[in-house]
């Protein structure tokens, strides 16, 4: 079985990889490219731990083939901080204890960033529905929702 050659951009870097036809983007990120910050919680698009953006659109990377990344721009958790400067959401999640075990955190941060790019002033309900595809079993979501709302408020003040 021949492998497929794919050229793409990941977190701003031109990236080439070879993948099997059936390999998901998640498999490629984790197993071919060593970008293990994106997590697999279910493999069926139900938990959101594998959330990335493709051309700015939030997707579950377990539901997309690696070959489909051809010519696209992928953003993962590894590209969220600028060097040692954390994104305001990352900083706020730490400050507000919006994580316990941390396995869902990368997916939630990617999803929350995507929300704030579309809607800088979301209501609590909008945050809850936007993140409804990201399962967290530790926190009961309370501190996550608060952290996203506070970050949005901070970012609005700063802009």
């Amino acid at each position: 079985m021949s492998r497929i050659h794919v050229t793409t951009k990941i977190n701003g870097d031109e990236t080439e990889f070879l993948c099997d036809a059936e390999a998901t983007l998640l498999d490629v990120l984790r197993d071919e490219l060593g970008l293990t910050g994106t997590k697999e919680g279910c493999g069926t698009g139900d938990c959101g731990a594998c959330s990335v953006t493709v051309d700015g659109r939030l997707v579950c990377s377990c539901l997309m083939l690696g070959a489909e990344a051809e010519g696209r721009e992928i953003a993962t958790i590894e590209g969220m901080a600028a060097g040692e400067v954390l994104h305001p959401l990352q900083k706020k999640f730490i400050e507000m204890a919006a994580l316990q075990c941390g396995i869902c955190t990368p997916g939630i941060l990617v999803a929350a960033k995507s929300l704030l790019e579309r809607n800088p002033d979301p209501s609590e309900e909008e945050v809850r529905y936007w993140l409804a595809g990201n399962l967290c079993r530790c926190t009961g979501y309370d501190k996550i929702i608060r952290a996203v709302l506070e970050t949005a408020a901070d970012m609005r003040r700063a802009s």
Binding site: R30, L99, C101, T105, P106, T139, G140
Partner: protein, 748 residues
């Protein structure tokens, strides 16, 4: 609130504050390495073949076609393990079936291959001949005489003769005279309640990476709640010496009790041994749900008598828990904790441990207690409402206090139950107005909390900063609390201490991260290790000053002469003492090894408002408040997080979550789409009130907080839904069709 409470304690400088967790940046940047994130050169992929039958005799396994497939490096079946010691026999059988497959998803063979694609293909080439046997998955069915029997000869002497072989044990607790008590009651409620089996639902599937050399040395990287347990169990199963097997705990993506046992690890080690290559195994979500530890499903009879003033005169519960395919359901814990919040003259519980053709139950946060509390708190609620009494006042009237003889035997020391009830009564939530189709529920809960084997090693570096090594995986921020307690004790800033989770080669035995024990027991050992280091530093300062050791004391991060008679010397800071350690006797450290005992019990009261849609039977959680005693909240944010997380897991248990088996004994909802855990849009904020009634068994008064928070919510939500729907809900989960059916039945 907690922050204000902690400020009242003048002598704490670090404990009670909310610093950033030390592993925070790794966790928000994707750098933290969890179970599936590790690789090794030459690594193979391991996969497991699982039984498609609920109960079947395994007649023959032929792996020759799989072994012949290019890229397959090893095949393992039960025959590879040989005999194992008795204490791990059930664990072994659960990891790899012997004569019989006992549940849908039970492992029957495993392979290691050069890629996942080859592994998938190879699994299909393994031929297994099964003789399908009759099965049973329901607890009440399994207890009937005539039910298909899973095991012969496992029944304990505690079970009356003539019962099904699936009934493994009977236990009974309590005191007083139930019949006499019931005779004094103005009303008696007698009901049967049922709860579904739920899964811990951690988002990270089980994963490990094993290496095994021909000389008997092994290395294992694994996501687990207890890597020392993994070492000991795997060594016993594989016939290794414990000292030759080094286990390193990865970051852990949730456990809630479900990662206190092994599933993949002995198999991965055996595959690594046979292939001579590192083997990585990662479960799929479907495997997690089919084959790892859910909790017990239950059937519980409750009979409680109450006077019209609200005093409970007698309380009885009979609890039947199926714990899956092997003995050891958490029914004893349920029977012992069922009435623990109350001061009762006449109380009795009977517990039955039952096996069925389901995956072996693993611990799940306060194992056994939430279901018992659901049944008991529902009956108390029904009685209180029947008399038109305030349900909080009824609980306060009957509530346990210091000096109460607990339903499970001992007399309580200082406890916080009444404090949580009083806080609930005072809280604005209690008197907030409710709308149409809305209801409010309250319930109490109790958990024991544990200690156990614990080691901490604390080292002072040459520059005077401090490292703490402990042996319990950090499942929810415990490195932050250990760092805080070390900093508190040493009188140095939080950021001068770094805590790591050491591998099994670096410390002595450590009990699993369970029983809400870590902040209590590891905290205690950390404080004692810091005290040992302080004593040593005082001794060094005494040498330098040329005075008696006893004449030196430690305060605010420095050794000081104790009193004017000791001599006039300026304080020597930890940095100054560390800088000359090589000149005064060598590196400075403190360590503490202990079997921690004396964990304080913990109580909580939960309050919840719901709205039930009369058209669909769907329940919406409107408001939720947790009141719990934490003894001392070391890092209040993470204490709140434990309260909130436990409450929401309980909400899921109450409303949505349930293992659904078909007539064929096959699990029908082995995925997060159909096994639906609560999502953000299902919930409101979860408010928390931290009470601090110090535990006399801990230097700072800490009690475990992780488990108690899942005990009351099943009942609190059920009481609220029952109020909103106008009908008593006696079965969990209260899914929309069940609620709708109950409402329609009540209307006649």
């Amino acid at each position: 609130m907690a922050l204000d409470d902690s400020k009242k304690v003048k002598n704490f400088k670090v404990v009670g504050t909310r610093p950033n967790r030390p592993d925070g940046i790794d966790k928000v940047t994707g750098r933290a390495r969890f179970g599936a994130d590790m690789v090794a050169p030459g690594m193979l992929t391991g996969r497991i073949l699982r039984s498609p039958h609920a109960h079947a005799r395994i007649l023959r396994i032929d792996a020759s076609k799989a072994e012949a497939l290019p890229g397959v490096k090893a095949v393992v079946t039960r025959a590879d393990f040989g005999d194992v010691p008795d204490h791990v026999a059930d664990v072994m059988d659960n990891c790899m079936a012997g004569d019989k497959a006992l549940y849908d998803g039970h492992a029957v063979a495993a392979i290691a291959a050069s890629s996942a694609a080859v592994a998938r293909k190879a699994l299909k080439l393994i031929e297994v001949d099964y003789e399908v046997l009759p099965h049973v998955t329901d607890v009440d069915e399994a207890m009937k005489p005539g039910a298909p029997v899973l095991h012969e000869g496992r029944q304990q002497e505690t079970v009356p003769s003539g019962m099904s072989g699936n009934v493994i044990a009977r236990s009974e607790f309590g005191h007083g005279d139930i019949e006499a008590g019931l005779a004094k009651a103005d009303r008696v409620v007698e009901r049967t309640y049922r709860t579904g089996a739920t899964h811990q639902g951690y988002i990270e599937p089980h994963a490990c990476l094993a290496t095994m050399s021909a000389d008997g040395q092994g290395d294992l990287w694994v996501c687990t709640q207890g890597h020392y347990m993994v070492r000991n169990v795997c060594a016993a199963i594989l016939g290794l010496e414990q000292g030759q097997l080094r286990v390193t705990a990865s970051e852990i993506g949730g456990g809630f009790g479900g990662k206190t046992v092994v599933f993949l690890e002995p198999v991965a080690l055996m595959l690594a041994k046979k292939s001579g290559r590192p083997v990585k195994m990662v479960m799929s979500r479907s495997e997690v749900l089919r084959a790892t530890g859910p909790t017990a499903s239950t059937s519980i009879d409750v009979k409680i008598g109450m006077t019209k003033e609200g005093r409970i005169t007698a309380a009885f519960a009979e609890l039947r828990y199926q714990g899956g395919a092997y003995p050891g359901s958490p029914v004893d814990m349920g029977a012992m904790s069922a009435f623990a919040p109350y001061d009762l003259e006449n109380v009795k519980t009977v517990g039955w441990d039952v096996v069925t053709n389901r995956p072996k139950a693993a611990a799940y946060r306060a194992p056994g207690a939430p279901m018992a509390a659901y049944a008991v708190e529902s009956a108390i609620d029904e009685l209180a409402k029947g008399f038109g009494l305030d349900p909080l006042a009824v609980r306060l009237m009957n509530g346990a206090d210091e000096g109460t003889k607990a339903s499970y035997g001992p007399t309580y020391p200082a406890i916080g139950l009444k404090a949580t009830l009083e806080a609930a009564h005072r809280h604005p939530h209690w008197t907030a107005p409710l709308g149409e189709n809305q209801g409010r529920g309250v319930a109490c809960g109790f958990w024991f909390n544990f200690g156990g084997d614990t080691c901490v090693s604390l080292n002072v570096t040459p520059d005077g900063t401090v490292t703490v090594s402990e042996g319990n995986p950090d499942i929810g921020g415990s490195r932050a609390s250990m760092t805080m307690m070390a900093a508190e004790e040493l009188g140095i800033p939080y950021d001068q201490v770094r805590t790591i989770i050491a591998d099994t080669g670096s410390l002595g035995q450590n009990e699993v991260t369970d029983g809400s024990r870590v902040t209590f027991a590891v905290g205690l050992a950390t404080i004692e290790a810091a005290r040992a280091a302080k004593r040593e530093m005082c001794r060094r300062a005494a040498m330098i000053w040329g005075i008696d050791e006893e004449a030196v004391e430690w305060e605010d991060g420095a050794a000081r002469p104790a009193g004017p008679n000791a001599g006039k010397f300026p304080p020597m800071t930890i940095k100054e003492i560390a800088a000359v350690a090589s000149n005064t006797g060598g590196p400075i450290a403190g360590h503490h090894e202990v079997t921690a005992e004396g964990a304080g019990v913990s109580f909580a009261t939960h309050m919840v408002d719901v709205e039930v849609d009369p058209e669909t039977g769907a329940t919406k959680i409107l408001r939720y408040t947790v009141f719990q005693d934490a003894g001392r909240a070391v890092h209040p944010s993470y204490v709140e997080g434990q309260f909130q997380g436990g409450a929401v897991q309980g909400i899921g248990w109450a409303l949505n979550e349930e293992y659904i088996y078909g007539e064929d004994g096959i699990l029908q909802n082995a995925g997060f789409l159909d096994y639906r855990i609560p999502v953000a849009s299902d919930l409101p904020m979860i408010d928390t009130v931290i009470l601090e009634i110090p535990n006399p068994g801990h230097p700072y008064g800490v009690r475990g907080v992780g488990e108690t928070s899942i005990v009351p919510p099943l009942a609190a939500v059920a009481n609220a839904v029952s109020a909103a729907a106008g009908v008593r809900m006696t079965r969990l989960p209260m899914s929309p069709p069940r609620v709708l059916a109950a409402m329609q039945a009540a209307k006649g």
